[in-house]
Structure formats: C-alpha cells, structure tokens
C-alpha cells in the first residue's frame, strides 16, 4: 500500500515537474463569447501550469478568419500560438495552406480521437493529419414556448415528424387567429434550415470525402421539400437573424430551431420570458427517423509558426479535452461541449430555471452521438451563398420541384468549386 502511494506520489511529482517545466507566454485568438469562455478556463489552467502566461485576444469572428488567412498567405507571419476556427470554414486552411498549421498527431491528438463524436472530426482532419481539436458544437433542437403550445393544445411530446409539426402549426394558427407561427426561416439571408434538415437526412452540399457535390441527392431533396411544405402551410415566418430575435421577443413565434448555442441568445434577449421556454428534439422526416443534426461549432488549432507548441498544446488540451474546461465554458457562456466524457458531469443533469426547470443539456447533449457527419469543405461559403439564393427562388416559385431547384444548385456549386456532381 505504502509502495503504491509512493509510486503515485512519484508519478504526480513527475507530472508536476513536467508541468512547471512549461514556460513562457502563449497568445490565443478568438471572438466574442468564445474568447470570454477561453479566458474563463485560464485560472484552472494556471493552477496546473503556473509558468505559462495565456493571453486571450478577442479580435471578432471575421477578423480572426481574415487575419488567419492573411497570416497563412504570408507564410505564417504574425499568427498566434492558439487559433480559433469555425468547423465549417476550417478546411480552407488545411487545403490551401497545408503547412500553416501543426499536425497535432505529433503531439498526441490520436489519443483524443474517441473522446469526441466522429462528426466533429470530419472537417478537422486531412488524411492521417489532425489540424485542430473539436471545441463546441451545435446539436440542433427545437426551443418552444410552453405557454403558447399549451394554449393551442399542442403536446410537444407528440411531435415526432415534420408532418406532426405542420399539423401542430395549423392548430397554433387557429388558436391565435393566425398571429403566432411555429418558427422563423431565413429566406434570402441564409439557408440554415436547409442545412439542418439536410444534415438530419444524412445529406449535405458535398459528400463526406469532399470530392463531389451531393446537394441534389434524395436526403437534400426531402429537406427542401419539407421547407416548402412548412412555407405553403403558412406555419412559419420569414426573416434573418435579427427578425428571428424580434419575433421571439414579440411572442410572434412559439418556437425556434437552431444549434443549441442559440440557448444563450434566447435567454439574454427575452429575460422576461423566463420559465416559459422548453426544449424538444427536432422532428424526424419520417416516423422513427433521425432526430438530430448539427449547426455550427468551432475548434482550436496551433499554427506551425508557434514558438511554444508544447504550452499551446497543454492549453488546448486543458480547455477542450477535460471535463473541467468544457463544463466551465458551458456553465458560464452556454458553449455546448463536444467532449464526450463531459456529458457525465452532474451539471448536465441539472434543471435549468429559464427553461421551466427542464434539464435541457441532458436532452441536447444526448443527441451528439446520433448526428450524421457532414463536410463543409473549403468551398462552404460559396455553396452556402448559392444555396441561399436557390432556396429563396424555389420558395418564390421559380422552380417546379425541389429536385429541379437542387439540380440547378448542384450545377452552380459544381461550376464554382470545380468538383463533379456526385452520382
């Protein structure tokens, strides 16, 4: 027993010695709440690594991307030690500048492979190389107003498919004289509903190898058809990010669908509606179908030009691959962890007062393992811009069927990217 304790003590001592051996300053680039969340894990990091000074710089989302590209184009000049990147945009970096970031397998990234859901890795790896570690994710759920649903006699537990959702929407219209809709779809500003529904149906702009355009395949057609059905039934409103928030504040919509990071947006924009909200799983396209998708999420990478990669790696690991780091960010800033062991933390099971004391994180995080993978590829922004226009045209009646619209989208995306249309 004593020998064992001694051995443990020796090991701990060894670990401590290694930890204190890491020194110097590391700079971290991030944005908004994400930057604040990283800031929040610095104290616990410094308890383990007292000699590493972490400087988190909040540049704003677009600036991080723009300066990152510029830095990579300039051969790695002026880049930080830890770089935040959105999953969807990440592949531009690995594809255009394969030498700009550190291959993290050399630092031990492969040992973390199983700790994150597979869909989070798709955009962060190229061949055998791992360029970034998954951070937060955006499991899609429906946020709903308990009071409005109740008034219209809708039971959210009975909404299992999109057809159920539309039927519920008709009830809602009837009960409120057409004043309250079931959600807000961006039309012309974005195509996020299409992306969520397509992902649910295991379809996306591109295949998971990133080698072909697949936006006109059956799962995507079904997704666009559902959007059309929702629009034709008149159960949804239209509007971009700002309108969506306005409608929520004005109680003009009874629900919203987004990545779970939207939780904080609702909570902070409508504090007076506390206790009235709840969460349920997104409806499936048919009975028994998948009720999970992902929208958004980010990762951390280490530029190859970093002078202190060991310290940067220690920080990345502490922030993203420990329950302590991930739960801190969830608690304080609502960043949804993708680190699977964090799902067992007691905080996840805690009822949330704003959400009518529903333990929403348990429900939300429970979908992580069911999300079909999807690849943004380096052409994500272009495909999104095209799809946004095609969706708006389709809803305006420019195409006869969803298939026809998506065939047109596939042709345009193929032209813009040079990738063939998949069979």
């Amino acid at each position: 027993m004593k020998a064992r304790l001694l051995a443990v003590a020796a090991l701990l001592g060894l670990a401590w010695a290694q930890n204190t051996a890491l020194k110097g300053e590391i700079t971290v680039w991030s944005w908004d709440i994400a930057a604040k969340a990283l800031e929040a894990v610095v104290p616990s990091f410094n308890k383990l690594y007292p000699n590493v000074k972490v400087k988190v710089v909040d540049l704003g989302n677009q600036q991080v991307f723009d300066r990152g590209l510029a830095g990579c184009a300039a051969g790695g000049a002026d880049l930080p030690d830890v770089y935040s990147v959105e999953n969807n945009e990440a592949e531009v970096f690995w594809n255009r500048f394969p030498d700009c970031f550190t291959d993290l397998t050399a630092l031990g990234a492969n040992q973390l492979r199983k700790d994150f859901p597979e869909f989070k890795w798709t955009e962060l790896t190229m061949g055998n190389k791992v360029f970034a570690i998954p951070w937060d994710s955006g499991p899609v759920v429906i946020f709903y107003r308990r009071d409005l649903y109740q008034k219209a006699g809708i039971d959210p537990n009975k909404i299992a498919t999109w057809d159920d959702f539309i039927a519920a929407g008709k009830k809602m219209l009837q009960a409120t004289g057409g004043k309250v809709k079931m959600g807000t779809i961006a039309n012309g500003q974005d195509d996020e509903w299409f992306r969520m529904l397509a992902n649910q149906n295991a379809c996306f702009y591109f295949n998971n190898q990133g080698t072909a355009v697949t936006v006109n395949q059956p799962g995507c057609v079904r997704a666009l058809d559902t959007i059309k059905k929702l629009a034709d039934a008149g159960v949804v409103a239209f509007g971009g990010w700002n309108e969506q928030i306005q409608y929520i504040k004005a109680s003009a919509v009874a629900s919203a669908m987004f990545g779970a990071w939207y939780e904080g947006t609702i909570r902070t924009n409508a504090p007076d509606q506390a206790g009235k909200w709840g969460v349920f799983l997104m409806p499936a396209s048919q009975k028994g179908g998948v009720r999970a998708a992902n929208l958004g999420g980010s990762a951390l990478a280490i530029p190859a030009s970093s002078k202190n990669k060991e310290a940067a790696w220690a920080f990345v690991k502490h922030a993203l691959a420990t329950t302590e780091g991930q739960i801190t960010m969830l608690k304080e800033y609502g960043l949804v962890p993708s680190y699977l062991p964090a799902l067992n933390d007691p905080y996840v099971k805690k009822p949330q007062p704003y959400w009518g004391n529903q333990p929403i994180w348990e429900l939300i995080l429970g979908t992580l393992g069911k999300i079909p993978p999807a690849r943004g590829t380096q052409y994500f922004q272009e495909a999104r811009q095209i799809m946004t226009a095609v969706q708006a045209d389709f809803l305006a009646g420019k195409y006869k069927t969803a298939q026809e619209a998506l065939d047109a989208a596939a042709k345009q995306i193929s032209q813009a990217t040079g990738l063939p249309i998949g069979k």
């Binding site: 811009q385 226009a389 345009q412």
Partner: protein, 282 residues
Amino acid sequence: MRTKAPFFFLAPYLFLFALFWAWPILYSFYLSFLNTRVYPWHLEPAVNWGRLLQDPFFWVALKNTLFILAVQVPLMLALALLLALALNSALLRLKGFYRFAFFAPVVVGAVAYSAVFRLLFNTEFGAVNALLRALGHPGYDWLYTPGPAMAVIVLALTWRWTGYNAIILLAGLQSIPRELYEAASLDGAGPWHQFWHVTLPGLRPVLVFALVLSIIGTLQLFTEPFLITGGGPGNATMTLGVYLYQQGFRSFNFGYASAIAYTVALLAAGFSFLQMRLWRER
C-alpha cells in the same frame, strides 16, 4: 551620362511604382488564368474566364452596379449642378461656409458615416422610420428588403459625393468668361437661354470629367454596400466590388477575383472611351 541623371532622381519613385503598382497589375492579370481553388495553383485559363460568363452571381453584381450607375450617377450630377449654380449665384451670402459644408461629407471617414446610416435606417429605432411613422406611414425594413436597401445605398452615395462634384463643377462655372454672359444678355438672352447656350457648353469638359470619375467610382463601388448592407439582403446590393472581395478574401480564390477585377477595369475603360467619344469637342 547627362541623359541618365533624371532616371537616378526618379529611381525611388520608379522602384515603388514597379513594386506596388505595375507588378500587382501584371501579376493579377496572370492570376486570372490560374486555378487558385486548389493547392498548389496551376494554369487553367478557362476556369475563371469561363465561369464569369455562366456565374449568375456575377451577373447579379453587374446588374446591381449598372443600376446604380444608371440611377445614382445622373441624379447626383444633376443635384451637383444645381448646387454649383446656387453656390455661384451672386445672391448667396456666406459662400465659403456653404462650400465647406457641402464638401465636408467627403472628409468624413467612410466607416463612421456608414455606421451612422445604419443607425438612421434601423427598422425599429432609426430616425428615418420614426419620421415616417410620425407622418402616418408604417416605415420600411430598410436594410433587410431588397428595394429599400438599394435606396439606402443610393442615398448614402448621393449624400457623400454630391458636394464633391458640386465643387468641381463650381470651378468649371467660374472658368467660363464673364464676357460671354455680357454678350448674351446684350443679345437679349434670358437666364434660361444663357444657361442652355453659354453655361452648359462652357461646362462640358468639366462635366465629362465629373461623369467619368463618377462612373469609375461606381464600377469599383465597395465601401457603402459592404459596410451598410453587406451586399444584402440576399445579393440585392452586391456590387462587382463586393463580389470581388468575397471571392478574393473570403473564398480565397484570387484567380477568379482577378478575372472580376479585370472585367471591372475593362468596363471602366469602355465607358470612359464612350464618354470621350460622345462628348468630344466638335
């Protein structure tokens, strides 16, 4: 030896010109024939120029740009001419002050004034909608509906550049010899006739100059749509300049962005040539 001396004095300038002007201009022409969507870049002449013809977004951007050209430029120049005539009038006091006041918008930073326009045209809290509501009109969702968004861009451009053009035209007005007006009034020409037969012909070279400047400025238009509407909603206010930026610095497709840039340059050259021909001194 004597003949070479000037080149030594010019050398710093020539060096900078070659490095920061000539080289990028030539290099981007070369880039427009490369496929820059892949690593490493390689020569594939049809990829960008071929795409240009079939790319619906490029046509939308071109259409928006030409719309602004056809609507905003004549509107602005007409206003500028009226302003210049007023500023030149013998009846006006405090001329210096007015000249400064109308020129001032150009001095204001584009980012600052764009932010102010965003606030003015904010749907819920903007001054413009507050005024409309006071007049009994529900107001517009200015920045998020296509037509009104374009109207905001046109208004912003007009606000910023009318005074600038008015000052140019004013200089032109002042260079028209007084004797011409004297002679005209002796011949019995009224103010309207004088404007039509003395002022306008005398102003022609300056007008052409202002027109060409405005057309080139509009073809390159980027700041206002980028900062005020972000090219949106959808692509409703996306100009060639904004699309070029998106392709170059968001999608990092320098080849295609260069092809767009060269198209803009060709259009500008074509328009200017046409102007000169149409308005040539007879």
